[in-house]
Amino acid sequence: MGGETSEAPTADEEFEERTLTDILDPRGFGWLTRLGLFGLLLLAVLPALQGYGFLGIVVNSTLLANITGAMFFAVFAMSWDMQSGYTGEISFGHGLFFGVGGYASAILQAQMGLDLLVTIPLGMFAAGIAGLLIGFPSLRLQGPYFSLITLVTPIIIIGLFRFAPDVTGGATGLFTETLTTGAVEGYVVALALFLGALVLFLAITRSDAGIVLTAIREDELAVEAAGLNPAKFKLFSFVLSGLVGGLAGALFVHTYAGGFVAPSDLLALVVSIEVIIASIIGGIGTITGAAIGGLFLFLFRVYIAQVDLTVPVIGVPIGEIYFLLFTVVTLVVLFFIPEGVITRILVRTRQRAAAREEEDGGGGGGGPDLATDGGWTEGEPSNLERIVATFTEQLRAVLPGFGDDP
């Protein structure tokens, strides 16, 4: 899903005005974008290939169900990246949005008997309102307060659910209706959501909003100096992220989860953390990285849990320690590719294109959206490093003893 052009336009071309049709012309796409589009096409036709097998993978309802779950998880990850990856205001509790969306829809259906076609949009808006309620006060503050608030809010919600187990199902969960029957229908719903979210997020981050959001990640005062209101853009990305996350949560509950909503699926801290890990592995601040990272991480977790092997020395089956293995693999990826897999591929491709152009006597480097799609130059700090550096700086500013304030 390399949703960007990989070739660097020459200096002359670049300053010409382009119409939207020019930008969307497939003939201008680089091979990465074409590969991504081919991947999307493959996802779209997969249900029609049931019964066929290639490379030892048989397309059956189990595979479809797994990919359904993976696409939901990828949307969760993209919604995190849209907000935290782009603005640098790290949310440690994005599970709140998935949970509010899923629970609002489930409770409205189970307790009030509303139709799912009504409750799912309501779940989405509930998550958007949650984003507004949390984001409006906290995104105006400089410093780590936003992160801390997002960290505790899902925990508070889980706690509140315990007080009304009749309504919420408490710690165990709540049964509600399903939207779909069968693996293919659920797959189609997830695919539509996945494509919709991907296109929406790509359109926003590759437009001017992407320029502003990444600039906020870099320096808010510099954004204000450009006559732009950072609070507006931060709140926009947070609420948008909440709306999409909430919709994904609601659809997840009524399709993949089989009409069952539980705190551990959506609201738990581990969900919020996994979403962050998926985005980091794919490449923060790229959207496409979060999509691929999310798909990969979910399927990896599912399949490693099924591996029927025992770890030699300690004699533990892999299925039992899969989460440990999963985190170890994550750390290894982080160690060797700290900027994320997609970012690395993008940068390598660009460098090659730039080198080729230099040979041809052309000037110039990457396209104008270099920063907004996670463009990164070798030797420069990656998006992740920048975000972490800012975050530790902010923490240092509020922790006594480390203060650099006068």
Partner: protein, 271 residues
């Protein structure tokens, strides 16, 4: 100093009855009017009852030793933080306490003494951010409309050869040019320039001064801050000298260099 602006020591000042002794300005005394600006940080008074007015198309020098309150005054005027007391009028309107980005949208831009480039993007992308409209949905950058304008501004300040470079590759003089280019790209009527000449070679100072004069002739008003008078006195029409947050002199470059208070507070120690 050839200008169309008054070079008298005192701009027309209506004396405020309640504040007899200190001068006071009304909203229409200039394009930018600061009236009784005071800024306190805890017990520290950084700016104390400072009043001044800037005429249209004037280049006003804002001079004072380090720690005199120059940047604090700038921050109060541009809305980075509000003044504790006092009023700021811009184009005759009371704009005290407006947000910084609102002031920029109203046509007041500034540069920063401690440079604030966006380290993650090239010089031209840094300038382009100032051309992006403050709207959530806009594709002007994507379609290359703002691109040509950003390149033009870069060329104007002398960064034409450095469009693709990252800010941390730039020498000091070019960082100042980048700051200026980003401010110019917001299309300001009033531009506050913080320490433009610090660390510059003489030919860079001349070049930068020429650019500022050209922009002034095209209609921009300037306030130029510097703690060092080198280069500044040739550029400005009029200067205000502050020390310990208070105005100690106001006049043409000749007048302030002859002012005994200025010599005592400033020149004696600095030159």
């Amino acid at each position: 100093m050839s200008t169309d602006t008054p070079t008298s020591t005192e701009t027309p000042a209506d004396l405020d009855e309640t504040d007899a002794g200190t001068e006071s300005y009304g909203p229409d005394d200039g394009v930018l009017v600061a009236d009784g600006i005071t800024k306190r940080f805890g017990g520290l008074v950084a700016v104390d009852d400072l009043s001044f007015a800037v005429e249209k198309q004037e280049i006003l020098g804002f001079i004072g030793p380090n720690g005199a309150g120059k940047s604090t005054t700038f921050n109060c005027i541009t809305g980075v933080y509000p003044p504790s007391e006092g009023t700021v009028y811009y184009n005759g309107r009371d704009v005290t306490g407006s947000e910084f980005y609102e002031m920029v949208q109203n046509g007041m831009a500034r540069t920063f003494q401690e440079f604030r480039p966006l380290e993650d993007r090239s010089v031209v992308d840094n300038v382009q951010i100032s051309l992006v409209p403050d709207r959530l949905f806009s594709t002007s950058g994507l379609r290359g409309q703002t691109r040509a304008r950003a390149v033009e501004i870069c060329e104007r300040v002398g960064l034409g050869e450095r469009l693709r470079q990252l800010p941390d590759e730039l020498p000091h003089a070019d960082m100042i040019r980048l700051e200026l280019a980003r401010a110019m790209a917001t299309d300001p009527d009033l531009l506050l320039v913080d320490e433009p000449f610090a660390g510059l070679a003489d030919e860079d100072i001349t070049e930068l001064s020429d650019l500022l004069r050209t922009l002034r002739d095209q209609g921009t008003t300037f306030i130029v801050v510097d703690h060092n008078m080198r280069g500044l006195l040739q550029l400005i029409d009029r200067a205000i000298v502050i020390n310990f947050g208070e105005k100690i002199a106001d006049g043409t470059p000749e007048e302030i260099t002859d002012d005994p208070a200025v010599r005592k507070a400033y020149l004696g120690s600095e030159d």
